[in-house]
């Protein structure tokens, strides 16, 4: 039952990802991408990582995708006016996609561990409480450092869009 669910969900994830890419209209792409994110959240739920799933939806679908959609709207890009790449480059993209997929999968299959057994220790490791403890104790420094990251991106975004007043 779970296996079937996994396959369906996986197929959905991949399909929406593909559709994101193949949609001519950026708006459609964005919507497919949201769907894709939702399916990934589904995966997280299957892992029983509820908190992460919710955060994922909030951050990606709620923040990042909205930002993108906003930009698309702002630029009035919701037209299917994108010229296709040349046939050669599209072909090259397809071929390289096949190649990368093949190589990666082959490598992973080769690296597959044989005869491993997965045992559940039953210990709690992904409740909000534990996550909070890990995040704010063990990973306190990166957590704080992430603020620097966000600060940089904030300053950066401002810097790039700030109106210039020459020599003020």
């Amino acid at each position: 039952m779970i296996t079937t669910l996994f396959y369906i969900l996986s197929a959905f994830t991949l399909a929406t990802a593909f559709l994101t890419i193949f949609s001519k209209n950026p708006i459609h792409s964005a919507i497919y991408l949201v769907l894709c994110f939702f399916s990934i959240a589904g995966h997280y739920l299957m892992f029983n990582a509820q908190f992460l799933a919710i955060v994922h939806i909030i951050v990606y679908s709620g923040a990042i995708m909205i930002l993108m959609l906003f930009t698309i709207m702002l630029m009035n890009l919701n037209k299917e006016d994108e010229k296709n790449k040349t046939l050669w480059s599209r072909l090259a993209a397809v071929i390289s996609f096949c190649l990368v997929a093949l190589v990666l999968l082959a490598a992973f299959i080769k690296a597959q561990q044989t005869g491993y057994t997965y045992e559940v220790s039953g210990e709690d490791y992904q409740s909000i409480k534990v996550l909070g403890q890990v995040l704010l104790n063990d990973y306190m420094v990166p957590f704080e450092f992430a603020s620097v990251l966000l600060l940089v991106s904030m300053i950066g975004a401002v810097l790039l869009s700030k109106k210039e007043h020459i020599n003020n």
């Binding site: 779970i2 996994f6 996986s10 994830t13 991949l14 990802a17 593909f18 994101t20 890419i21 950026p26 792409s29 991408l33 894709c36 990934i40 995966h43 892992f47 029983n48 990582a49 955060v55 994922h56 951050v59 990606y60 990042i64 930002l67 993108m68 930009t71 702002l74 630029m75 890009l77 994108e82 790449k85 090259a92 993209a93 397809v94 996609f97 990368v100 997929a101 990666l104 999968l105 992973f108 997965y118 559940v120 210990e123 490791y125 534990v130 996550l131 890990v134 995040l135 990973y139 990166p142 957590f143 992430a146 990251l149 966000l150 940089v152 991106s153 950066g156 975004a157 790039l160 869009s161």
Partner: protein, 106 residues
């Protein structure tokens, strides 16, 4: 609910992530619309996130999931900066077709 990895196995998740990652990469190669390329990169990052969560479960260790938060923060920051650049480009050339950005070459 018993742990999902007992049913499905970590390998399948790795394959899924790898495939999703490839799809993302493919998107970057295939499209010339910058914003769709951004989206493709997001797909790639999400593939990694999925993998991290899978491994987190595999090791029954919270660090993987914590790392996903950082990854999200990075994704958000990148998108913010990326879109700022995109807007700046759009202001100058009135479109976001990446193939129009070929001034620097040689």
């Amino acid at each position: 609910m018993e742990n999902i990895l007992q049913e499905i196995g970590i390998d399948n998740y790795i394959y899924l992530s790898a495939l999703l990652f490839c799809v993302g990469a493919f998107g970057v190669l295939y499209r010339r619309n910058a914003i769709v390329m951004f989206m493709s990169i997001e797909i790639m990052l999400n593939a990694v996130n999925l993998l991290l969560v899978a491994f987190s479960t595999y090791h029954q260790d919270a660090a993987g999931q914590v790392f996903v938060f950082f990854s999200m923060a990075v994704a958000a920051a990148e998108v913010a900066v990326g879109l700022a650049i995109l807007v700046a480009v759009y202001r100058n050339i009135s479109n976001i077709d990446i193939d129009n950005l070929k001034k620097l070459k040689g």
